[in-house]
């Protein structure tokens, strides 16, 4: 991977080629080794090494940008010529976007060498083999184990430099009984000794065994306990539809016109906090702005939104450092943290007379962004709770629910939280118990399974 010195050398080399222009040079580099298994054997095993070099040049209300993954002189010359030509012909935009000028440098170079030691390609195969060997004869597993190395670096003609290295290991597995019943586990970390693969296999296996001989449940409103993977999925879509200044400006956000108002129950607090050690921090954004902690929902009240430069200027506020390089999104929170509660997951189950325990959701989508109305299906571990215990597995159900309503019906929050994947980053979330969660369909209608 590009070291800080190598990244800065490339940035300076390109800045020299666009002399006379206000410019920003951004490098987004990634090296991924991913081992995938299905039917309890490795079926795909891949490595890729790529980067994206983006050149942005600006004049007054104009910004042109171009990107390439080739750093040789000829390729850079072609890219520079084209971006300059584009700047000349494009019309002025709505606002003038300044270049960040403070602080001079933000750099994070440290990574845990244990990641490479423990998750190089041979080790990945060994670990998967060990995990698969734990499974009973009627069970098979599928999943992936990936070592991902990332560098985000940038510099601009105001003289700032930014560099962040963020390496992670991620694992997911679905363990399936021959009847088709499945259980799931997923984990990720930026530490080499933090991810217990065998425990993850065991968890998925236990979930599959618990769900054997699932029953069909009629659609309707049920009390649910959503485990962290399911909560994280909901949070991702809430963030996409509504947590940015840009989404409010577009009229898409369910928080439009509601900043300062109570939108969720008082027990809900959601922060974007890159300083929380349970998220994976990049302390600056794609524009070089220092990332700030943003209190999005505080005790149920809509408090603050995340911004990139353009959306912050429109709202006459200071950017929160949440650009992800996508102008249409504006800012995007990549370190979401939801406050925990005071009960264990098991306490939440024990306190439920009748309800549904959900491991994770599948294929969620937005029906109405202004109402935060989402739909999706349960997957890989859905169970009926009766009189405080898990009674049986349930065949998968479709929910259609407004989060503006559901997050006002949260009656329990677990004290345990989990790191879960998010569109552009990672969230740290608890399990939630929600009353009257609406299931509007089921996946199996007859004996043939459909």
């Amino acid at each position: 991977m590009l070291s800080k010195e190598q990244a800065y050398e490339v940035i300076d080399r390109v800045l020299a080629k666009v002399k006379g222009y206000q410019a920003l040079i951004l490098i987004n580099a990634e090296e991924t080794g991913l081992t995938r298994f299905a039917n309890s054997e490795i079926h795909q095993n891949v490595f890729k090494d790529d980067l994206e070099l983006e050149i942005q040049i600006k004049r007054e209300k104009k910004t042109a940008r171009i990107s390439t993954n080739q750093l040789d002189e000829d390729s850079l010359k072609v890219a520079v010529n084209q971006v300059i030509a584009n700047l000349e012909i494009i019309p002025a935009g709505e606002i003038e976007l300044p270049l960040v000028d403070y602080p001079t440098e933000i750099a994070v170079e440290e990574v845990d060498p244990g990641l490479e030691q423990n998750f190089a390609v041979e080790k990945r195969a060994e670990l998967i083999k060990q995990g698969l060997s734990q499974l009973g004869p009627d069970y098979q597993a599928a999943g992936s184990l990936a070592l991902n190395k990332k560098v985000l670096a940038l510099g601009n003609t105001n003289g700032i430099k930014r560099y962040a290295r963020g390496d992670t290991v991620s694992f997911n597995t679905v363990v399936m009984h021959q009847s088709g019943v499945s259980g799931y586990a997923e984990s990720l970390s930026d530490q080499g000794d933090d991810l217990d693969l065998l425990a993850q296999f065991e968890l998925a296996d236990r979930k599959a065994r618990t769900g054997l001989e699932p029953v069909n449940l009629e659609p309707g409103a049920y009390t649910v306990i959503l485990e962290p993977l399911a909560v994280g999925d909901l949070l991702s879509y809430l963030a996409y539809t509504g947590f940015s200044g840009r989404s409010v400006q577009k009229g898409m956000s369910f928080l439009a016109g509601k900043i300062g108002e109570k939108v969720f129950g008082e027990n809900i607090t959601i922060t974007d906090n890159h300083l929380d050690q349970n998220t994976i921090s990049i302390p600056f954004d794609f524009e070089g702005a220092a990332r700030k902690k943003v209190r999005i929902i505080e005790r149920g009240r809509a408090k603050e939104l995340v911004y990139d430069l353009a959306s912050s200027i429109r709202d006459q506020v200071i950017t929160t450092g949440h650009s992800v390089g996508n102008r249409d999104l504006g800012g995007f929170p990549i370190n979401l943290v939801m406050d925990s509660g005071d009960k264990s997951r098991n306490d939440l189950i024990a306190g439920t007379e009748r309800g549904i325990l959900v491991t994770r959701f599948h294929y969620m989508n937005i029906i109405d962004p202004r109402q935060a109305l989402f739909t999706g299906l349960t997957r890989d571990g859905t169970y009926l709770i009766e009189q405080g215990t898990i009674k049986t597995g349930i065949k998968n159900l479709r929910f259609t629910e407004s989060m503006l309503q559901a997050f006002n019906r949260v009656t329990g929050i677990s004290k345990e939280r989990q790191k879960v994947p998010h569109f552009y980053g990672y969230s740290y979330v608890p399990a939630l118990k929600i009353d009257d969660f609406h299931f509007t369909g089921r996946t199996e209608e007859n004996k043939e399974g459909f």
Binding site: G33, L34, T35, F37, A38, N39, S40, E41, I42, H43, Q44, N45, V46, F47, K48, D49, D50, E52, R65, I66, T68, N69, Q70, V83, N86, I89, I90, G93, V121, E122, R124, A125, K129, A142, G143, S144, N172, V174, Y184, K250, G251, R327, H362, Y363, M364, N365, I366, I367, R370, T375, L377, R379, N396, R398, T400, F439, G441, R442, T443, F450
Partner: protein
């Protein structure tokens, strides 16, 4: 390049591989977005590199690098990965036989979109936005254009050497209007950045964006004041602007043979379709005829050869409602003792080819649009996909559309509804189809964001359809208590 590739393939053969291929891709894109009569984004991107796939003792390894001077290092990395795979493998992967091909394929086109000035493109989008702004009170207007030029070179140890020059172009417009705590959107010609095809700039001229802008704007404004779509069971007519996603999710994905064999079980999911269903499973009514056609002119899933060097084909998927064939790659087809039907494609140089849709098309029926409506006492006509969701076996689906038109006594009444949603069970839904419009109404649309695989890959696929009628479909969810 050919010499370099043959050298590395010779090296790999010397290392004892069963098979290896080298794929070079140089992808250039241009993306333009306008918003409220201003340029929001003009972005050009280039991604170039090479991917090497090896099968060693029946085990797979793949490595990709953007550095073309590191072919041998990349090959060695692929070999090391294949050796690691071998330690957790039950049986050797076998690749189906294929022809040795040396050829060049070029997307047919008239006007190279990269030779058209950016100013001309912007002027067109601004003119379309101006028409929208002038026609109705709107919250926001947008315009989109996307172009892609891709050179692909494929070489393998069996002797194939294939060069392809593929060109894509597309565009569209979008209007947004605010209602009472509500945001409504209409898109033309289809949602999510418009239509996209394999073609030159001529497709942009054919879209008639300016001519269709005022109608799009007025409809959006009316939609913001419209009633919510009712809930219940209704006869439904789906426009081709919605059938695109219906076909994609409930036919295209379930028939991917790698998915059927469990390759996507932990991520994209599996399928309710299995290999015992070939030739007898009644997927849809007798009117339902579906093909996977990578040869149809203009389809976003149209090409000369897939990324295993297999020629593009037209394969029957559903004939007279009966399921006939899967989409296959060389490693999956061999398990059915078949040859690959050429659907194994990779997203760029840095990903492995996996089974992907090509153009999955619902063939036209024989009805005029008026005839399709004539047999409906009360029903709804849904247009333009807005949201999609389907379970991990592709059985229970739910789609949202931009607009619904009321049908009463066999005719459109002119009344529109907002936020239409329908849901169903895949085989039941396709078996409820009892009318499809004729070829005059058949349209081919592109889907440039089909997601699958880990690491995630995005495929460019197409779907053709004419408006079709479905009986007693569950509409809305608000009646579920």
């Amino acid at each position: 390049m050919r010499e370099k590739f043959e050298k590395v393939l010779d090296y790999l053969q010397g290392q004892g591989v069963d098979y290896a291929d080298v794929r070079y891709v140089d992808r250039n894109t241009e993306s333009i977005t306008t918003e409220d009569l201003k340029l929001q984004e003009l972005q050009n991107m280039r991604s170039e590199g090479v991917g090497i796939r090896v099968y060693l003792d029946g085990s797979m390894g793949f490595a990709g690098s953007r550095d073309l001077n590191k072919l041998k290092e990349t090959a060695d990395q692929a070999l090391a990965i294949a050796r690691a795979s071998k330690s957790v493998q039950k049986k050797r992967v076998r690749l189906a036989q294929k022809e040795v091909i040396v050829d060049h394929y070029q997307t047919p086109f008239k006007i190279d979109p990269f030779q058209v000035s950016t100013k001309e493109k912007l002027d067109l989008l601004m003119a379309a936005e101006g028409e929208m702004k002038g026609a109705a009170q709107l919250h926001q207007t947008k315009g989109f254009m996307d172009f892609q030029k891709e050179k692909k070179v494929f070489a393998d140890t069996e002797g194939s050497y294939i060069v392809q020059d593929l060109i894509e172009a597309g565009g569209g417009i979008e209007a947004r209007a605010l209602g009472n705590n509500d945001l409504q959107v209409r898109s033309f010609p289809i949602s999510f950045r418009g239509n996209r095809v394999t073609s030159g700039y001529e497709i942009i001229e054919e879209l008639d964006l300016v001519e269709n802008a005022a109608k799009t704007a007025r409809e959006t404004s009316e939609l913001a004041r419209a009633e919510e779509c009712p809930s219940g069971k209704y006869d439904l007519v789906l426009d081709s602007t919605q059938l695109v996603l219906q076909i994609h999710e409930s036919i295209g994905h379930p028939i991917e043979l790698d998915r059927v064999f469990g390759a996507e079980a932990a991520y994209a999911g599996t399928s309710f379709v299995n290999i015992d269903m070939i030739d007898h499973f009644q997927y849809g009514s007798k009117l339902v005829n579906v093909v996977a056609d990578a040869t149809v002119p203009g389809g976003l899933g149209t090409f000369g050869y897939d990324d295993e060097g297999v020629p593009a084909t037209r394969t029957e998927i559903i004939t007279g409602g009966v399921f006939k064939n899967f989409l296959t790659s060389r490693d999956t087809a061999s398990q059915l003792n078949q040859k690959s039907n050429g659907t194994s494609r990779a997203d760029g140089w840095h990903n492995i080819p996996i089974v992907r849709m090509t153009n999955i098309n619902l063939l036209p029926g024989n009805l005029e649009f008026e005839e399709l409506l004539a047999d409906i006492d009360y029903g709804l006509y849904f247009l333009t996909n807005k949201s999609w969701s389907i379970d991990d076996r592709r059985v229970n689906f739910q789609f949202g559309c931009e607009i619904a038109y009321e049908i009463k006594n066999g005719k459109l009444t002119g009344k529109i509804y907002k936020n239409p949603v329908y849901t169903g069970i895949t085989p039941q839904f396709w078996n409820s189809c009892d009318g499809i419009c004729n070829e005059d109404y058949w349209r081919l649309y592109g889907v440039p964001n089909c997601g699958k695989g880990q690491p995630g890959q995005s495929a460019h696929v197409g779907h053709g359809a004419a408006p079709a009628r479905f009986r007693k479909v569950k509409v809305g969810v608000k009646d579920v208590k």
